[in-house]
Symmetry: C2
Subunit: 244 residues, 2 copies
DNA sequence: TTGCTATCCATAACATAGTTACGGCATGGT
DNA sequence: ACCATGCCGTAACTATGTTATGGATAGCAA
């Protein structure tokens, strides 16, 4: 593996294991047994390295989302995509924060380096794949008549707001540390949103069950070091079906 | 005003005007005509100063949310709260990021200083007022029979995910720079969520109109320096009422 | 072979940031 | 009068990004 790739690899690893404050030139160089100059030889500086990390993070995120299979049930696909999204963020919170600027680009606080250009949207082309995946899933749900609407982009943005807000609040610990937020908050939220978009409550419930089964019940595949003991518990959430 | 207060004041001002990278001891001290030592005399270091900034930011955020009046229409109140929330974040994006990004408990990204102790939820008591306001608004909507459910906390968390995700994506530029995201994404999302929670589509539409009128149409009161030219435009969003 | 060039890398120094050591000065209590 | 305490400044220390400079190697040409 090239020195360049080894630096990116070490960067992603260090970011997750020791936090963003450890993403400095000296520690990074030591990690691959080189001097700090390698950062400048290959990336022109820390900003270039951050951009490479960002790019690689988005590539892997895109792969994780693209791995979700398409079935007859477009809504279940959409929900499964959400679970995959949440799973990625949950497994790599620092990486997720880096990607979406809660830690970096848009403005934010973290690397004193300013990838401030535009943030991720324009700067990192790989980022758009994330939203494309979501938009297409929404389009399929529209095409199969499960939900109503004429602007898939606007609807996808609603789902994105939901999942993005959820994962950030969840990783900030606002939903407890047991990982039950999926059952308590995310699943009911998605259910309510889908009902509001015109899907049938019973059909939504079926799709939710389908998605959670496909994804190992939303706790996601076991990540080494991720503690998500039991999701099926706690009080019944907001309201998941039926009308008044 | 005490030196301590002047430092916090200058910190909040510098944060918004020049970005978080300007929040350093030397620039801060120069701002109030003192030496860097004042930071250590009054706050014990930059971490202490950050915590003071965080606390003050949450106090003002809480005040902004508490200023939303209670009316007969609990759902309109809830929506107005959301507009006030978005307005605060939109007017002070750096402050909002500081509050919810850097603050993270478990993982935290933080300025190189680590308030990592516990983060905001436990660490900053003022932070809980934010969610309380939201939870109570949801409770009133439940009490007046507008929406169904037995767990106001879970429902409030759904609204919080929605608005938190929205403002972060919006300030990252994913919804365009014209501020039209409220009409295109946030309002339809809230509408769909409320319908999913059992409210009547027509009643939701009335409450949405009411809230936007109360809040100057969701663009918020004009902030000096905030550019939100025209919100009424663009394509019709996802679907805002009716059932199939 | 010899020499030239380009690339990669290391050593060392520089600038800036947070931080600490230390001393001065004022205020207030004894 | 004397000292204790608190606030503040100067200067130095450390860590980090960055730059200057030179060496080593590979590839190519004469």
């Amino acid at each position: 593996m090239s020195t360049k790739d080894r630096l990116v690899e070490a960067g992603l690893r260090l970011l997750e294991s020791e936090g963003p404050e450890s993403l400095n030139a000296r520690k990074l160089a030591a990690e691959i047994g080189a001097s700090t100059m390698t950062v400048y030889t290959h990336f022109g500086g820390m900003a270039g390295l951050y951009e490479a990390l960002l790019r690689q993070a988005f590539v892997r995120f895109g792969q994780a989302l693209a791995a979700v299979e398409h079935t007859d049930d477009a809504v279940a696909d959409l929900l499964t995509l959400g679970l995959a999204y949440r799973d990625f963020a949950s497994a790599s919170p620092q990486r997720y924060r880096l990607m979406f600027g809660v830690t970096a680009p848009g403005s934010s606080i973290a690397p004193p380096h300013d990838l401030t250009e535009e943030g991720s949207p324009g700067g990192i082309p790989e980022a758009s794949a994330t939203f494309d995946e979501l938009r297409e899933a929404v389009q399929r749900a529209l095409d199969t008549g499960r939900i109503d609407g004429d602007d898939p982009v606007a609807i996808a943005a609603q789902f994105w707001s939901m999942i993005h807000g959820f994962v950030l609040l969840e990783m900030s610990g606002y939903f407890g540390t047991e990982g039950g937020g999926v059952t308590t908050v995310l699943a009911p939220h998605a259910t309510n949103l889908l009902i509001g978009l015109g899907d049938d409550p019973a059909a939504v419930a079926r799709s939710v069950r389908s998605a959670r089964e496909r994804f190992g019940d939303g706790a996601g595949p076991p990540h080494p070091g991720s503690r998500t003991p039991d999701v099926r518990r706690g009080p019944r959430p907001g309201r998941t079906s039926g009308r008044r």
